[in-house]
Symmetry: C2
Subunit: 518 residues, 2 copies
C-alpha cells in the first residue's frame, strides 16, 4: 500500500462510518460534549475447537494510547469528509460539525481506567472504562476495539504456548501469514503473552529487542542448484556466522543428509574454537527427529546444542511433542530433561492468527451518560440474558483466598468499598438463583483491579516496559488455580455482581421492558 494511504487509513479515520454519523448527530443535538462512559469487555474466552482458554491476557493498551496521543482530525482528514455526499447528493457532513472536528477532534479529554496491560483477565469484566465527551468517546470505539481485541487474543494464545513449552524459549515467525501490517501488533501481543523474540525485523527494532533468525530452505537450494550441495551451503553459513551458526537441516533429507552435514560443519567450527548454536527441524515427526538429532549430536560431543522445532506448532502440538519426547527418550537411552532443555520452539501461523479462534469478541458498550453532574446508567437488553450489559459506573475487585489464589472477580457499584466490607454478597451475573456470601476472614486480600491509566506521566501505560507487562502476567498466572489455567477443558473462573449492582440491573431491565413498544 502507498505510504500516504497507510497514513490515512491508520490515522484517526481508522474508525467506522457510523461513529462519524453519530458524532454529527450528537453535535447537532448539543450532546457532543456531554460526558459518556463506555466499557470494553469481552464475552467469551477464546475457544479453539478441541481446546479453549480459561483466561485471557490483556494487551494493546500501550499501543492504543500511543495512537490516541498522535492522531487527531486535521485539514487532511476533514477534506475527505467534506467531499462525501449522502443519497440526496448533498454533503453528508455539515460545515459546523467539520469545523468542530477540526478544533476538538482529538482524544485529549478522554480518561481511561482499567486493568494494567499484561494482567490476567476474564469474560464480562470491564477491562477498560472510557469516560469523555460523547462524540470523541464514540469515535474511539473502533480503534480501541481494533487495538485491544487483537493484541489480547494473541497475548492469550502466546501465554498458552508458553505454558505448554515447559519454560523453553518460543520465537514468533508469523508475519508471512498475518493480516497485512497487522502482524506487527501481533508480535507485541505475543511478547506480552510470553513469546521470547520474533523474526519480524521492523517491529522488533521498534520495540527495542533483537529479531531472531538464521536461514531458509532457499539458501540450501541455491547452493544445490549451483553444484555446491547442502554441505556447501552450511559451510558458507558457518564461515560468515561462526558464533551464530544455526542450520536448517530438512531441505534434502533430515536424517541422511541434513543432520550429518550439520555435525560435520559443527566439528569444523569447534576445531576453530567456535561454539555452534544448533539445528532447526521444519518438517516431519518433530519429536522423533529431535530425539534422533540429539542422539547424533551427543555422539559427537554436541550435548547442549539447540534443536529448534518449527512447522505448524500450537500449544497442543508443543504439548504433544514434549510428551512424546518424555516417553520415548528413555527407550533410546536419553535423559528426557536433557533433550527438552535444548529445545526452542518457532511458532508461526497458529500464533499470529490465533488459529481456531481468530477474533476476540470484545465489545465497547455505553454504560452511563452524565446529565449535569449525575451519571445516569445506560442499559442494552438482549434476548440472550448474558448479553444484557451491566449498567452504571463501577469498580472491579479481585478476591484472593487464603492460598493467595484469585477466587473471583467482582463488579461493584462505584461507591462500594469491598476491601472494607466484613461480608460480600455476590450474585451470578445472569442466573438469579446463584448467590453466595463471602466473609472477609476467609479472604487473604481484596484488590481493586481498575486504576487510572493516564495518557502521560510515570503511571501511564506508555511508561510500561515489555518486562513490566510480562511480570504482571507471570504474577497473575501464579495466583490462578491450575484448573483455570488448564489447556483443555479449563475450570470456570467466577465473575460476580454485588447485590447493589444486581438490583440496579433488575430495576433498569424492568423499566425498559415496561417502556418497550411505546
Amino acid at each position: 500500500m502507498r505510504r500516504a494511504h497507510r497514513q490515512l487509513s491508520e490515522g484517526i479515520l481508522m474508525t467506522d462510518q457510523y461513529q462519524l454519523t453519530m458524532a454529527q448527530l450528537y453535535f447537532r443535538q448539543g450532546l457532543h460534549n456531554m460526558d459518556a462512559q463506555f466499557e470494553y469487555f469481552y464475552r467469551n474466552n477464546p475457544s479453539y475447537g478441541s481446546h479453549q482458554a480459561g483466561y485471557t491476557v490483556l494487551a494493546g493498551t500501550g499501543s492504543l494510547l500511543e495512537w490516541m496521543a498522535e492522531e487527531r482530525f486535521t485539514e487532511h482528514e476533514i477534506a475527505y469528509l467534506r467531499r462525501q455526499t449522502g443519497r440526496s447528493g448533498k454533503p453528508l457532513f455539515h460545515r459546523d460539525f467539520l469545523d468542530w472536528l477540526l478544533d476538538e477532534g482529538h482524544f485529549g479529554r478522554i480518561r481511561i481506567t482499567g486493568l494494567q496491560e499484561g494482567r490476567v483477565a476474564h469474560p464480562t469484566v470491564p477491562l477498560l472504562t472510557v469516560q469523555g465527551p460523547m462524540a470523541m468517546a464514540q469515535i474511539l470505539e473502533t480503534p480501541l476495539l481494533n487495538h485491544i481485541n487483537y493484541q489480547t487474543l494473541i497475548a492469550t494464545k502466546a501465554s498458552r504456548m508458553h505454558q505448554a513449552a515447559a519454560g523453553r524459549p518460543i520465537l514468533e515467525f508469523g508475519l508471512r501469514r498475518a493480516q497485512g501490517y497487522g502482524g506487527n501488533a501481533g508480535v507485541r501481543g505475543a511478547l506480552v503473552g510470553g513469546v521470547d523474540a520474533s523474526s519480524n525485523v521492523g517491529i522488533s527494532h521498534a520495540l527495542g529487542i533483537d529479531p531472531k533468525g538464521t536461514h531458509a530452505h532457499s539458501m540450501v537450494q541455491a547452493f544445490g542448484a549451483l553444484g555446491a550441495g547442502e554441505i556447501g551451503a552450511f559451510r558458507a553459513y558457518a564461515e560468515i556466522y561462526p558464533d551464530d551458526c544455526l542450520l536448517l537441516v530438512d531441505t534434502v533429507n533430515t536424517l541422511e543428509s541434513g543432520i550429518p552435514n550439520a555435525i560435520t560443519v559443527f566439528e569444523e567450527l569447534r576445531a576453530k574454537g567456535h561454539r555452534p548454536v544448533g539445528i532447526r527441524l521444519d518438517s516431519g515427526d518433530l519429536a522423533h527427529l529431535a530425539l534422533q538429532a540429539a542422539l547424533a549430536m551427543n555422539r559427537t560431543g554436541f550435548t547442549d546444542t539447540n534443536i529448534v522445532l518449527s512447522n505448524q506448532l500450537d500449544e497442543m502440538v508443543i504439548w504433544q511433542i514434549l510428551s512424546q519426547i518424555r516417553t520415548e527418550a528413555p527407550k533410546l537411552g536419553l535423559e528426557p530433561t536433557d533433550v527438552v532443555n535444548r529445545l526452542v520452539f518457532g511458532v508461526g501461523t497458529a500464533l499470529i492468527t490465533s488459529q481456531g479462534a481468530p477474533a476476540l469478541d470484545g465489545v465497547y458498550k455505553l454504560t452511563a451518560v452524565k446529565d449535569g453532574t449525575e451519571w445516569k446508567p445506560a442499559i442494552k437488553i438482549s434476548e440472550t440474558p448474558g448479553k444484557t450489559i451491566n449498567p452504571g459506573t463501577k469498580n472491579i475487585w479481585r478476591l484472593y483466598d487464603k492460598r493467595e489464589k484469585a477466587t473471583c472477580d467482582v463488579l461493584a457499584m462505584e461507591d462500594e468499598r469491598l476491601d472494607q466490607a466484613a461480608e460480600i454478597h455476590l450474585h451470578h451475573p445472569v442466573d438469579f438463583q446463584i448467590q453466595r456470601t463471602l466473609h472477609r476472614e476467609d479472604l487473604n486480600r481484596i484488590e481493586r483491579l481498575n486504576i487510572d491509566l493516564p495518557q502521560s506521566g510515570p503511571a501511564s501505560p506508555l511508561a510500561d516496559t515489555l518486562d513490566t507487562m510480562r511480570s504482571r502476567r507471570e504474577h497473575d498466572l501464579a495466583c490462578l488455580d491450575d484448573g483455570v489455567k488448564r489447556l483443555v477443558n479449563p475450570h470456570l473462573y467466577h465473575i460476580s455482581l454485588t447485590r447493589s449492582l444486581w438490583d440496579l440491573k433488575q430495576k433498569l431491565v424492568r423499566e425498559r421492558c415496561k417502556g418497550a413498544g411505546k
Copy 2:
C-alpha cells in the same frame, strides 16, 4: 502504535531476520546480484471446517507493488541493523554489506510476472514469479507473502459470500475484529472479491469509495438514559439524515419496539417528502425477523425499504437465511423475491478473519538460479510428495473446453507453446499413474495466464482499478464449472504438468536423492 514505529515496521524492515542474514551471506559469496527466480503459490484451497473453497481469487499484487515502489533501505533502517550484535557481541551485519544495502537495497531490479489481480486461481499453480538479484529477491519473500496471502484469503472469502448473497449488496464491517492495521488490507481484498463497500472510513477514502454506515446501539441507549427513548433517537437521526435514514431496530425489542418505532419515523419522513432507506437487524433469528419486518413495512406502504442483516454472517449463514426466507415467505403471503430484493448483508468477523481458515498457506520458493546466461532449476524435496516443488522457469496455461469452461491449468516449460500444439500430454503433479492427452480440436481456447506485471506504465497492476479487478473475477467465475464453485464439497479443479516438466522434476529428484548423505 507510534507513527514512527508504524513507519519503521511497515517499511522495508517488514521482513524476517533470516532474509537479511541470508542476503549478507549471498553478498559475501558474491551471489547477491546473481539472478534468482522465486515462485509464489499456495498448496491448498482454504478449508473452513464444514465447507471449503474450490478456487481462490488472487489479490494484493497492487498493494505489494505500491509498497515495493516506495520502500528501500535508507540510513534510518541501516542504523538499526548496524547496532545489532551476534552472540559474540560483535556486529551481526558487516559494514561492506550495509554499504551495499544502502546503495542497492531497493526493488527496482525485480521483475514480476504472473496472473493479474482479481483472477481466479488454483493450488500449486505459480501465481507470481519473481526474478531479480538474489539478495533483494530473498528479502522480498516476507512482504510478498504478507501482502498476497492475506488479500487473496479475504478476496476468496468475499467471493464466496458474494455467491451466497444472490446478487444482493454486501457491506464489510470487520475493522474492530481485525489484526490491528491489517484490517485495511482486508477491506481491499474484500472489495476485489465481491464486497460492495465498507464501514472502514480511512481505507475507503484511500481506495476512492464512500464508506457506509448509520448508527449503533449506543445512540439508542444514550437517548434512553436521557429519557427520550428509542423513538427519540430515531427521530433525531431522521432529522439530521432525512435522505439517508437507516435505523438499527434491536436495541430494546425488535418486534415490539424497534420496527414499530422505525415505521412511525418513516411515516413522518414520508410526510415531509423523504424516502427512508431502511432498517438494520443485528440479533435474533434474522430470517424470521426480516420476514416480520417486511410484513410490517408492507402494511404501511414501505414495500422496498431495505432490510440490512448483520451479526456473525458468513457464506453459510447468508445461504441459510435466503433459503429460510424462500421457504417461509409464501406461508406469510409474501413473495420471496420481493423480500430477498430488499436485503443487504453486513459482514464482520467471519470475513475479515476468514473464519475457519485464518491463513492461506502460500509460499515463496526458489525454483531457479541463473548461472551465467543459463537458468538452473532448483528443487526442494519433501517427504510429502505434494510439497516437492515444480522446478525451473515455466509458463502457466489455462485450457477452455468447447463450453468455454476452464477445464485445467497446466504448468509447462518456458519453451513449450501449448497454444500451438495439436495435442497436449498432461501429468498429474504427483501421481505418476494419472496421465492424459488432450486434443486441440476439443478445446475452445488456450490462454497463457502468466504475463508481465511491470512496476509502472499502463500494463502495471498499479494502473488497475477496483472495477477492473472485479470484472476479471466475474469473468473467470463465469468460466468456472458450477461444481468447482459449489460452497460445500466442491469438485476438484485439474492442475497438470506437461510431460517435459514432469520429466525434469523426475530427473532432479533422482539426482538429489543420489546426492543425499554425501
